[in-house]
């Protein structure tokens, strides 16, 4: 690769995962750097989501090690990943339609004021902070609106704002542009750029070639559990990546 070395946030070394006889992920190593968007591509069953689930604390690797900021990272459950600053935007966004945008942003981490058993929800503070997050994301999302009434792009903004509540280092995004309109895709890609500009390492799992080439700095391609490519977007092409995904091209450095 060469060039300027960026600060690496997460380092995976020789990670493997097997379920019984099935080798889902096989000897994968890579690093994530602060302020970089990495597109993770591959066909269904290539091992992308298993890999991400290990980073998110859903699975433990069978072999290999992960290091976060130079310290070894061992995760037993998803909540621990969150404590370490690893946030996930789930494919289905995990939003409650019957609650407001602010309530969804703060779900499970509600702000309260008062003392002892009489601590009540701090609506004002949550509306204010959620509003600031939406402004940072340049998204026209109103904290008081119900998620039910929102567009796909606004819903993404709510799910992404959730990852910005605490000082996230890594945001894993699972197919964020799979089921939304063209205009909203542009909106979501902008949200991803904003995360990157704040120095967050973003992993974008996607099937959509244009999105990855639009927003990612690097692309990692997986095939049958192995990493078959890890290169800068600028030095690759959609044709090459398609070849790597399907196996027409065996492997590139």
């Amino acid at each position: 690769m060469g060039g300027l070395r960026l600060v690496s946030v997460l380092e995976l070394a020789n990670i493997s995962k097997h379920f019984g006889a099935i080798q889902a992920v096989n000897d994968v190593s890579f690093t994530l750097e602060a302020g970089q968007v990495v597109g993770l591509m591959g066909d269904n069953g290539a091992g992308k989501s298993t890999l991400v689930k290990m980073i998110a604390g859903n699975f433990r690797p069978s072999h290999g090690t992960m290091h976060l900021d130079g310290k070894e990272l061992i995760l037993h459950k998803p909540a621990e990943a969150r404590q370490h600053g690893i946030e996930i935007v789930h494919q289905d966004l995990a939003l409650c339609n019957n609650l407001t945008a602010a309530a969804n942003v703060y779900l499970g981490r509600e702000l309260r004021r008062g003392i002892g058993p009489l601590r009540i929800l701090d609506y004002a503070a949550m509306y204010k902070r959620a509003g600031q997050l939406f402004a940072e994301l340049k998204s026209e999302t109103r904290p008081r609106d119900l998620v039910k009434q929102m567009s796909g792009g606004q819903r993404q903004a709510v799910a992404i704002a959730r990852t910005m509540l605490s000082q996230a280092k890594i945001v894993l995004m699972d197919e964020p542009t799979a089921a939304i309109s063209v205009r909203q895709v542009a909106e979501v890609l902008n949200l991803i750029r904003h995360l990157r500009d704040q120095g967050i390492a973003v992993v974008l799992i996607s099937h959509r070639m244009p999105d990855v080439f639009d927003v990612a700095d690097r692309v990692i391609v997986m095939r049958r559990g192995r990493k078959v490519a890890d290169k800068k977007i600028a030095s690759s092409s959609p044709e090459e990546v398609t070849g790597l995904i399907t196996g027409a091209i065996e492997q590139v450095a």
């Binding site: 969150r82 939003l95 409650c96 019957n98 609650l99 499970g108 009540i120 929800l121 109103r142 039910k148």
Partner: protein, 332 residues
């Protein structure tokens, strides 16, 4: 650009008025008021002090249980056992006090019984993934049967040394001549409203009803909360049982029969959604009020009492129909 974005974000989309007009609870309040006005004009007996006293007091037993049911329905569950739990709790109170224990011991035993039943329902539903319908249907049968066992299916009307205290608790009117059960209902409604709107627990109840999977993923303690809502539901049935026992001055094993229907009807008519995620304390009270006014008016208007079920059932279906219509409009 930044200014307009900030303005957009700060904007409130709905005014107070538009929110009120789109709430089912508001329209049910209007319906209750119109029905009362109509009945005051059409009959001589409605607007009498005695009748109003009866109505307000009759509302309370259904309303108190409906408050507890609201918690369960907001999570997307259902509790069919409330009528039987009310009966069992009344019987536990009656039998304990009849055996010579004080009212405090009687009430304590009743509350412990209610919470134990609620915890049992909740555990099966939350940890073993039983459908709420099945568990609470089973409990509907079990609780009434236990009430019969406890009392040997007799009427209990002597409550030992604290007999008078119990009757005063349920039958008195300690404040401004308002029947005590009405006072309890108001206090419990305020507590329910506070919990639903201002506590983390309340927020999580709505989240579970909206999207249980999302609640789990974001770290909401879904299982514990589910157990808690069934305990609250059973507790509200137990409290209603205590109050009703004091009011009636006698307990039979028939008390609370079929009450689950009225309670669920009150909750749904008041605007709660059986699919979960929506419901208010005020809605439960107002729904109970509408049912009672319908019931009362049938008698006053000289309509055969056998029609009661038709009208109440019709009101439930109508309430759900309005909900459907609103959803259709929204999806257009």
């Amino acid at each position: 650009m930044a200014v307009t974005l900030d303005q957009t974000i700060a904007q409130k989309q709905h005014s107070f008025l538009s929110r009120m007009l789109s709430s089912q609870t508001f329209w049910v309040v209007i319906a209750v008021i119109l029905a009362c006005l109509f009945l005051s004009v059409a009959t001589d007996a409605f607007a009498t002090q005695k009748n109003l006293y009866n109505i307000t007091r009759n509302i309370t037993f259904v309303a108190i249980v409906a408050l507890g049911m609201t918690f369960v329905i907001i999570t997307g569950g259902i509790d069919l056992s409330v009528g039987s739990v009310l009966c069992l709790c009344s019987m536990v109170l009656a039998v304990t006090m009849h055996a010579g224990y004080s009212i405090e011991v009687g009430i304590l035993a009743t509350i412990v019984t209610a919470l134990a039943i609620g915890a049992f329902n909740g555990m099966l539903i939350a940890y073993l993934d039983f459908p709420p319908f099945v568990v609470t249907l089973g409990m509907l049968s079990v609780a009434r049967s236990l009430a019969m066992v406890a009392s040997n299916n007799t009427v209990v009307f002597q409550f030992g040394p604290d007999h008078d205290k119990l009757l005063a608790l349920g039958g008195g009117a300690w404040l401004f001549g308002i029947a005590n059960p009405v006072l309890y209902m108001i206090i419990l409604a305020l507590i329910t409203g506070f919990i639903l709107r201002w506590t983390k627990f309340g927020r999580h109840i709505f989240a579970i009803g909206g999207n249980e999977h999302a609640a789990t993923l974001t770290g909401v303690p879904v299982r514990q909360i589910k157990v808690a809502v069934y305990m609250i539901s059973a507790l509200s049935a137990g409290l209603a049982g205590i109050i009703e026992t004091g009011w009636l001055g006698a307990v039979t094993t028939n008390i609370g029969t079929g009450m689950e229907l009225q309670v669920i009807a009150a909750t749904v008519i008041g605007g709660a959604n059986l699919a979960g995620g929506v419901g208010t304390a005020l809605g439960a009270i107002v729904g109970a009020a509408l049912i009672e006014v319908i019931r009362n008016s049938l008698g006053l208007l000289g309509i055969n009492a056998f029609w009661q079920g038709t009208f109440i059932g019709g009101a439930i279906i109508l309430a759900v129909l309005f909900d459907r219509i609103r959803n259709f409009r929204r999806s257009d």
